[in-house]
C-alpha cells in the first residue's frame, strides 16, 4: 500500500480559501453569496458556538476541576480557543537573541471565536505613516479606498460605539454602547481631569438585534467563550456557517495546507495540497483562484514553502519581501487597587465581554520622542471569580486599613483574612497600552532550515527584536498609567517597570499582543512588495492574500476590523476581475 498516493478531488472550484478566521471567513461569505463555488480548507475542527458540544458560556468555575486555570487553554479552561502559544506537533523557533510568541487557534473561525471584539477602524493617518513621519511604510491605498468596506462590515457584522468626531479614529455605523461600569465612570472622571480622553469602546457585540439569525447580547461578559446566541462576531457563526447555507461552500476541516500548487508553464496557481490531519492522507484540491487567509505568519510560511523551479524563493516572492516586516502591537500594563471601591454594594455588573470604555491615542507624536501612538484598554469590576482569585493578597492587605481603621500585618489567615477578600472584591483595575510599532525589515519569519512539523512541513523561525521606538513608547505608557492611578486615588500594584525590566518598561515580548501583520505586504512597487493594492500577488495573478499578512503597518488599532474590510474589498475585486474576464 502506498500511503503517499495523493488523492485528488475531481472538482475544480472557482476559489480555494485557506483558513477560516476573519479574512477567510469574510472571503468565503462574500464569494459564496455572489454565487462562486468555494472550497474552504481549515486545519482545525468544526466549531459552532451554539452547539452544546462546544459551549462553555455560562458555566461556573467549579464546573472545571482546575477552576478555569489555563493549563490546556492559555486564556483559561472556558476560553473558546483550541490551540494556543504551543501546539503539539506544530513547533516554531526563534533565532538566537530574538523571540516571538505565536498564538494559533485550530478551529472553524480561527482566533475570532475568542478574540476581544475590539473593532477599530484605522484612521486616515494610519495609511501614510511614512509620508507623515519618515519612518515605516505607506499603504498603497488610503482611508477613502477602504472606508466603504468598513461601513459595510459595521452593518453586516454589527458593532457598538459612539460618534466622537475624532479625526484619526473614524466613526462608524454604531449600535448603542453599554453604559460604563462603576470603575469605568471613575476612570473616565480621573483620566479626563488630567487631559486623557475616555470614550465608549467599540466592540463587535450586538446591543440591539440586527437580523433574525443572530440574538442580542445578554450581558454575561463572556464573549471570549464564543456566544451561543451569535450576539458577537465570530467568523464561525457570522460568516462561515451562513456561507455554508448558500450551498456554494465546501468546508473541509482537518485540512492542513502544505503548499500552493502552480502550473509550471503558466505560473498560475492551480490549487493547493494538504494533509488530512485525521487520516494523515495527502490530498489536493483544484481551483481557478487561490486565496490565503491562514493568518499572517502561516500565510507567509505557505508561500515560502511553495517552491518550484519557476519560484525558487517561494511563491509570489520575486521581491524577496515575504516574511519580512513582521510586526505586532506593543503592549505594556499596570494594575492598581482603588480604596474607594472597597466594600462595594453587590449587583450584577458583568456587562459585555470586555471594557465599556477606552482611551484612543490623544497626543501628537511630533512633540514626543517616539513616532507612533497607542490606545489604553481598561479592566476591572465585580467579575466572576476564577482561578487565581485573591492571589498575592499578602502584597496588599498590609497597606489597607481594616474595618476598624487600623492597619494590620500583611498576609495572615483566618476570619480577618477571609473578610479582606470580600472587602477587596471589585476594587482592582487594570490598564493595558496597545501601541503601533515601526515595521522593520530586520523583523521577519523565515523557513527554519532544520525543523519540520508532524506533517513534515518545514516550520517557521522568527527573528524579532523591539527597537528604541517601541521601548520609548512603553516608557510613556508606564508614566501615563501612574498618572491615571494617581488621579484615581489608587494604589499602584507591583513596582513600576523601569528600563531594566524585560524588553524595557514592561514591554511585552513580540507576538504577545497577537496582532501580527506585514509578512506578505502590499504595495505599488513589485520590487518591495509581494501584493498589489488589491492584495493580489504581483507575480501570480490568480493568487490573493486576505489576512493581515498584506498590511504594511497596523496603526495603534487592533487589526481585525481592517482584515474584514480588506478581505471584502479583495473579494469584490476578484469578482469584478472574473466578470471582466481578466481572471
Amino acid at each position: 500500500m502506498n500511503t503517499f498516493q495523493i488523492k485528488e478531488a475531481p472538482t475544480v472550484y472557482d476559489v480555494a480559501i485557506v483558513g477560516s478566521g476573519a479574512g477567510g471567513g469574510m472571503a468565503a461569505y462574500q464569494l459564496t453569496k455572489a454565487g462562486a463555488k468555494v472550497v474552504l480548507l481549515e486545519a482545525g475542527g468544526y466549531f459552532d458556538p451554539a452547539d452544546p458540544k462546544y459551549i462553555t458560556q455560562l458555566k461556573w468555575p467549579y464546573e472545571s476541576p482546575r477552576r478555569g486555570a489555563g493549563t490546556t487553554r492559555p486564556f483559561g479552561d472556558f476560553d473558546a480557543a483550541w490551540g494556543g502559544w504551543d501546539i503539539e506537533g506544530e513547533p516554531y523557533t526563534a533565532a538566537k537573541g530574538t523571540e516571538f510568541f505565536w498564538f494559533r487557534s485550530r478551529m472553524l473561525g480561527g482566533r475570532t471565536n475568542h478574540w476581544g471584539r475590539i473593532s477599530l477602524r484605522f484612521g486616515p493617518d494610519d495609511f501614510k505613516r511614512r509620508s507623515l513621519t519618515g519612518v515605516g511604510e505607506d499603504w498603497p491605498i488610503s482611508y477613502e479606498d477602504i472606508s466603504p468596506y468598513y461601513d459595510a462590515v459595521d452593518k453586516l457584522v454589527g458593532i457598538f460605539g459612539s460618534k466622537e468626531g475624532i479625526r484619526n479614529e473614524p466613526d462608524g455605523f454604531f449600535l448603542p454602547p453599554p453604559k460604563p461600569r462603576l470603575h469605568e465612570l471613575m476612570l473616565k472622571k480621573a483620566a479626563t481631569s488630567i487631559g486623557i480622553p475616555v470614550i465608549p469602546s467599540r466592540l463587535s457585540i450586538l446591543t440591539k438585534p440586527i437580523n433574525k439569525d443572530r440574538g442580542q447580547c445578554f450581558y454575561c461578559a463572556q464573549c471570549g467563550r464564543a456566544c451561543q446566541a451569535y450576539a458577537d462576531f465570530s467568523s464561525s457563526s457570522v460568516l462561515c456557517i451562513p456561507a455554508m447555507k448558500t450551498g456554494n461552500l465546501s468546508l473541509i476541516n482537518h485540512a492542513m495546507v502544505r503548499e500552493v500548487l502552480t502550473d509550471p508553464n503558466t505560473g498560475l496557481a492551480t490549487g493547493v495540497s494538504y494533509v488530512d490531519t485525521i487520516s494523515m492522507q495527502e490530498k489536493t484540491v483544484r481551483a481557478k483562484t487561490v486565496m490565503l487567509a491562514a493568518s499572517t505568519c502561516e500565510t507567509a510560511r505557505l508561500l515560502l514553502n511553495s517552491k518550484s523551479s519557476r519560484f525558487p524563493n517561494g511563491l509570489a516572492n520575486s521581491s524577496g519581501v515575504i516574511g519580512k516586516y513582521l510586526n505586532d502591537s506593543t503592549g505594556a500594563s499596570r494594575s492598581a487597587f482603588i480604596p474607594a471601591l472597597m466594600d462595594r454594594k453587590r449587583y450584577n455588573e458583568d456587562g459585555v465581554g470586555g471594557m465599556h470604555v477606552f482611551t484612543p491615542w490623544w497626543l501628537d507624536n511630533k512633540k514626543l520622542d517616539f513616532p507612533r501612538g497607542y490606545h489604553i484598554e481598561y479592566g476591572g469590576g465585580m467579575g466572576m471569580p476564577g482561578y487565581g482569585f485573591g492571589g498575592g493578597i499578602e502584597n496588599l492587605n498590609g497597606r489597607i486599613p481594616g474595618r476598624n481603621g487600623q492597619k494590620k500585618a500583611a498576609g495572615g489567615y483566618g476570619a480577618g483574612l477571609k473578610d479582606d477578600y470580600r472587602r477587596f472584591y471589585g476594587a482592582y483595575i487594570g490598564m493595558a497600552g496597545r501601541g503601533e510599532p515601526v515595521p522593520l525589515e530586520s523583523n521577519y519569519c523565515e523557513i527554519d532550515p532544520n525543523n519540520v512539523d508532524k506533517y513534515g512541513i518545514p516550520t517557521l523561525r522568527f527573528n524579532y527584536k523591539w527597537s528604541d521606538y517601541e521601548v520609548k513608547q512603553a516608557k510613556h505608557m508606564q508614566d501615563t498609567f501612574e498618572e491615571i492611578i494617581h488621579a484615581l486615588g489608587g494604589i499602584a500594584l507591583g513596582s513600576k517597570p523601569g528600563p531594566e525590566s524585560n524588553h524595557g518598561y514592561g514591554l511585552e515580548a513580540p507576538g504577545k499582543i497577537i496582532h501580527e501583520v506585514g509578512t506578505v505586504r502590499m504595495g505599488n512597487d513589485p520590487k518591495t512588495s509581494a501584493l498589489n493594492k488589491y492584495q493580489q500577488a504581483h507575480d501570480v495573478k490568480n493568487l490573493f492574500v486576505v489576512d493581515a499578512a498584506a498590511f504594511p503597518s497596523q496603526g495603534d488599532k487592533n487589526v481585525t476590523w481592517t482584515i474584514l474590510a480588506s478581505s471584502w474589498r479583495t473579494s469584490e475585486y476578484l469578482f469584478d476581475q472574473v466578470k471582466k474576464k481578466n481572471l
Binding site: 482546575r66 465612570l185 472622571k189 466572576m384 471569580p385 498576609g411
Partner: protein, 202 residues
C-alpha cells in the same frame, strides 16, 4: 431570534451535557468510549479523567492540607470553611494538573513537619491547635517573619493563594462573595443608589 427566545434557548442549552466525542484521534476500544463533556476537546476530557484517577497526596499530606486551608479560611457567620467548600480536592487536582506545584507543596509540608518536630516533637497535624497556630504565626506574615522561616513563608503564601482561589470559585465561596452575575440579564448601568454614593452620574 427574539431576545426572549435567546434567553430561553440559553437557559435550556446544555450545561455539562455528556455527548459523544466529535472525533477521536485514535479510535477508542469499542467497549469503552470516552465521554466528552460539553465544551471540552477530546484530549482535554481524556486528560482530566486520567488526572482524576491518579492520587498525589498521601493521606498524611491531605490531612495537613485540610488543616492548613481551614486555618486560612475558617467557617464564620457568613459561610463555611475551605474544606467544606472542597478546597483540598481542588489543591490535589492542581498538583497533578500543573506538576510544577508538586515539589513546593510536598517539600513545604515536609519543611513544616520538620519544624514542628523540632519545636513540639510531633508533625504538624498531631500538634495541638495552639501549637499549630504558634508555627503558623511564624510563617503567615511575610514582612515580620524571621530569617529562618522564609521558606515556610513561601509555602504558606502558596497555600493561602490556593485556598483563596479554591474557596472563592466554589459554590459556597461565590455566594459568600456576593457575585450575582453569570446569568442572562439586561445591563442598564450602575444602580442609582450606587451612583449617588460615589457622586457620579451618566
Amino acid at each position: 431570534m427574539k431576545r426572549r427566545d435567546t434567553l430561553k434557548a440559553i437557559s435550556l442549552a446544555g450545561f455539562g451535557l455528556a455527548v459523544e466525542p466529535v472525533e477521536a484521534a485514535v479510535p477508542a476500544p469499542p467497549e469503552k468510549k470516552p465521554v466528552i463533556p460539553g465544551g471540552r476537546q477530546p484530549f482535554e476530557a481524556e486528560r482530566d479523567a486520567k488526572l482524576k484517577a491518579e492520587k498525589f497526596f498521601t493521606p498524611h499530606e491531605l490531612q495537613t492540607v485540610t488543616v492548613l486551608c481551614d486555618i486560612i479560611i475558617p467557617a464564620d457567620e457568613r459561610s463555611g470553611s475551605a474544606s467544606q467548600a472542597g478546597v483540598p480536592a481542588f489543591i490535589e487536582f492542581m498538583m497533578k494538573d500543573q506538576p510544577r506545584n508538586q515539589t513546593p507543596m510536598r517539600g513545604g509540608i515536609r519543611w513544616l513537619d520538620n519544624k514542628c518536630v523540632a519545636m513540639f516533637g510531633k508533625p504538624f497535624v498531631q500538634c495541638t491547635k495552639a501549637q499549630q497556630i504558634q508555627i503558623v504565626d511564624k510563617i503567615a506574615y511575610p514582612e515580620q517573619a524571621s530569617k529562618d522561616m522564609t521558606q515556610g513563608v513561601s509555602f504558606f503564601s502558596m497555600m493561602r493563594n490556593f485556598t483563596a482561589a479554591g474557596f472563592f470559585t466554589s459554590q459556597i465561596g461565590i455566594k459568600d462573595l456576593g457575585y450575582v452575575g453569570n446569568t442572562p440579564n439586561d445591563w442598564q448601568g450602575v444602580p442609582d443608589d450606587v451612583l449617588k454614593q460615589y457622586g457620579l452620574s451618566y
